[in-house]
Structures are given as C-alpha cells and as structure tokens.
C-alpha cells in the first residue's frame, strides 16, 4: 500500500489521534513511515522540552562594532544594523551597561526578553483571533478560551526540576488544567528517565507542608486527574511529581522530580472575569 499521509504523521507527532487502523498497521511494518514519524516526533519533543519561552537574544551593538573594526570594514556603518527584536536588544544593551565584565544574570535577561516576545504574541493573537487570549505569568502559560466550549483550558504549567534534587536535572513536565462547569481536570505529562518505583502527582499548599495526592502516573509517564471538589487552588497552588518506592507507604517520598506553580491569574478572580460570557 502507499505510505501514510504526511499530514497524519505530523498530527500523530503532535500527539493527536489521527488516521485509521490501516494506518496503524502500515506504521508498524513500513520502515519509511516509522522513520518519518520518529523524525517529526523528535522536533515536537524538542520544542515542548524547550517550552514557549525559548528565544534568541540579540548581541549588544558593541559586538558588531568590534567585528567591523576587526575586519577593517570601513564601508559598514554600525548604526545601520537594526536588530530584529528591539526589546531584546535594549535589554542586552542595558545588561552590558550594568553588568559589564561581570557574571550576568542570564535568567533575568531571559525573562525580560521573553516578555517582549510574549507581548508580540499577545498582540498578534488579539488581532488574528478575538476568541483567544494568551497571557503568560512566571513559568506558566495560560490559555483561555473566551467562547463557551464544554471544557476550557484554564492553565498550562511547565514543570521543571528543583536545584535541591540535582539527580533530576533536566527532567521536565507539563500540567494542563481544564475546567468544566462542575470539575477541574489536570493532565500531567512527565519527561524523566525511568527509575525504580512509580511517579505520583501532588498538590502542595503554600505552607509547604500540607499536600494532596492526585494519583499515580501511568507507565508512559502521563496521567489525567480530577481535582477533588472544594480544594482551594489558590492555596494548593503548586504541582509536584515525586518518585515513590514500592514500600506501601502513602506518604510523599520526599524526592521531588519536577514542580510548577499555578498562575494566580488562572484562579484569583477566575470565576468572575475569565468565565465564558
């Protein structure tokens, strides 16, 4: 038979259900389609691991001055170099002035640059799609549908490993919170190596002590959980994934693989301003 439709391969790479049982059979046996599928899945995994904040930074203008001087390029005027992202560029310039010659706070500059890009994204979306608002706070992306679907995505939270647990460095995850009229459902995906034990998902309270177990991740490191009704997510605002040994204990094993915070904007006044009209 002919190869699987490239659109189906692309959608499957994104994790969507696409194609027929015939496509499934073909995908099992055809090395070409399997290879194509794997190539595209790698792109998707890379993009999702990097997260929406990954962006390029412009070097400060002084770098071009030095290059032009080094190659003796007198015909080139540095002032004609217009960085594509002015926000990132001005941050870089400030950084240079403030941190000249010292260890710069890369994180701070990344955040500053990302704000500029987010601003552009919001503008673009506002123009193209009046029904969708994207706002991003801290490490969390919030997607809100202002039309009235049966469920709406309340928040998408990037989970990352903690400095206190260097053995999990590089582990990442996402938690997508959906809300219906009556309940909140969280879909958690973890990207971490397989280790002995099982992964469990928790909500942590602001006091850092109280916690609620949502349940265990499946063998493919994903899980869908219903948030118990009545839980105040403004207090239980952190999502934590632990590695639990098979010892019968129901307590948190104190090994946090990844963690992330719900953005306040998702729940602060959500029942009022963000609810569908």
């Amino acid at each position: 038979m002919s190869h699987t439709d490239p659109v189906i391969l692309a959608l499957r790479a994104l994790g969507e259900t696409a194609g027929t049982a015939q496509d499934d059979d073909h995908a099992q046996t055809c090395p070409h389609c399997r290879h194509e599928q794997a190539r595209l899945t790698e792109v998707v995994d890379l993009a999702r691991h990097a997260g929406p904040d990954e962006h390029l930074e412009q070097p400060p203008p002084v770098v071009w001055d030095r290059i032009a001087a080094a190659v003796g390029n007198a015909t080139v005027s540095p002032t004609t170099v217009r960085p594509r992202e002015t926000v990132a560029s001005s941050n870089g310039h400030q950084g240079r002035a403030q941190d000249s010659g010292q260890e710069a706070d890369v994180g701070e500059h990344r955040r500053a640059g990302a704000r500029g890009r987010r601003g552009r994204l919001v503008t673009a979306l506002a123009g193209l799609a009046a029904g969708l608002i994207i706002g991003v706070g801290g490490t969390a992306g919030v997607v809100q549908l202002t039309k009235a679907p049966a469920t709406r995505v309340v928040a998408q939270i990037e989970l990352s490993s903690l400095p206190a647990f260097p053995q999990w460095r590089g582990a990442t995850g996402t938690a997508v919170m959906r809300a219906t009229a009556s309940q909140q459902v969280m879909v958690v995906t973890l990207h971490a190596p397989q280790r002995p034990g099982f992964y469990e998902v928790w909500l942590l309270a602001r006091n850092g002590v109280s916690m609620i177990s949502l349940g265990d991740l499946n063998a493919d490191h994903t899980g869908t959980f219903t948030v118990p009704p009545g839980v105040d997510l403004r207090n239980y605002s952190r999502i934590d994934v632990s590695l639990q040994p098979f010892n019968g204990s129901t307590l948190h094993a104190k090994t946090s693989v990844v963690r992330g915070s719900l953005p306040a904007v998702a729940f602060g006044s959500s029942s009022g301003s963000a609810s569908p009209s």
Binding site: P6, V7, A10, L11, A13, L14, E16, L40, E42, V43, V44, L46, A47, R48, H49, A50, G51, P52, E54, H55, L56, E57, Q58, P59, P60, V63, W64, R66, I67, A68, A70, V71, N73, T75, V76, T80, V81, P83, A88, G92, D99, G101, Q102, E103, A104, V106, R120, L121, T123, A124, L125, L128, A129, G131, L132, I134, G141, V143, V153, Q156
Partner: protein
C-alpha cells in the same frame, strides 16, 4: 502591525549567496540574520555575556576570513556558522578549564576532566527557536499553539479562523521545515 507578513525578508539562501560571493556588505547581512543565533548558543553554553560577546566576535571574524572555504553546495550557511560557533565555544571552555586547573593546582586540588563543547541540546533548542521565528506569522502562530497550548488542530483552526486544510498543511510543512533545519545545522560541516 508587526504580525502582518508584509515585510519582505531576505531569505537565508539570498544571504548565503551574497556571502559566498564575497560582497562587501555581506558580513553585515550575515550578522543581522545570524548574530542572535551565534550569540544565543554562546550565551547559553558559556553563561556569561562577556564570553558570549567574545565568541560571537570571533565567529564572524573567522567566518569572514575563511569565507572561501564556505561552499553552499556542501551545506547551509547557518550550519557552517553553527559549526564555527561550536568550535569557538569549545575553545573558550578549554581556556576556562585551563585557568581553573592552574588555580586548582595552586590550591593543591585535583583536576576534573571536562567536555569541551556546547551540548547538542542547547544548539538544537536555539536552532529550533530561530527557525520557528523565521516562519511566516500565521504558520508560526499555528505551531506555537500546536506545541504549547494543548489545542487540537481542529480547535486551532477554529480560534484562528483558518480553514482546517490550511492548518493541517501549515503543521505538516512547518514540522518538515523545522526538521530539515535541525538536520542541516546539527551535521558537522
């Protein structure tokens, strides 16, 4: 508005052609297009702005001086620059290691072997972000939503007001394009 795709961008192929012909303004064009790519890989690998600035300078000066060795038939200009960047970052790391070894020896400590290269993942992430930024705006929006929003392609079509077929074709073509760019830039030139 800047999301309108009316701005006529110079394609990477045009930049590459001008560069390999040794046009006097070529280095500036190349720098405008790829300065942030080189700088971001260096900054993410070395973590200090002053080192990243030095490496960026070295990469473009070296690229200009050895421009005769660039052959567009053998690979892309971006891939060639990424290779030079990898080498310059490795040099900077080696130099750092040498300095800390001297310090450690002075202090009577042991030395630790280190790897002298930016990690492939750092390079791939930056290259991917760069290519994503090069996509026409509507394709880029579709891909941002497909990657990060948890919407299906049908929902994306609905919220962006695009025909379903257009969204499918954007997804297929963009994923292929991102993949090709990654493959072109990660292969050693």
């Amino acid at each position: 508005m800047d999301y309108c795709q009316c701005v006529d961008r110079t394609s990477d192929e045009d930049v590459s052609g001008v560069f390999s012909e040794g046009h006097p303004d070529a280095l500036q064009l190349v720098y405008e297009r790829f300065g942030s790519l080189v700088y971001s890989i260096a900054l993410r690998s070395l973590r200090t702005r002053s080192d990243a600035e030095d490496v960026t300078q070295q990469v473009f000066v070296s690229a200009w001086r050895s421009r005769d060795s660039f052959d567009p038939k053998r690979g892309t200009l971006a891939g060639w620059l990424v290779t030079i960047t990898r080498n310059k970052v490795a040099d900077a790391m080696r130099e750092r290691q040498r300095q800390s070894r001297v310090l450690l020896q002075v202090a009577g400590g042991a030395t630790v072997p280190a790897s002298y290269a930016p990690s492939d993942q750092v390079v791939d992430r930056i290259v991917l972000a760069d290519e994503l930024a090069q996509l026409p705006e509507s394709q880029r929006l579709v891909m941002v939503l497909a990657f990060y929003s948890d919407l299906t392609h049908e929902q994306i079509a609905k919220v962006l007001g695009l025909p379903l077929g257009t969204v499918k074709s954007h997804i297929r073509r963009s994923l292929q394009r991102l993949r090709s760019r990654l493959e072109a830039d990660s292969v050693a030139y």
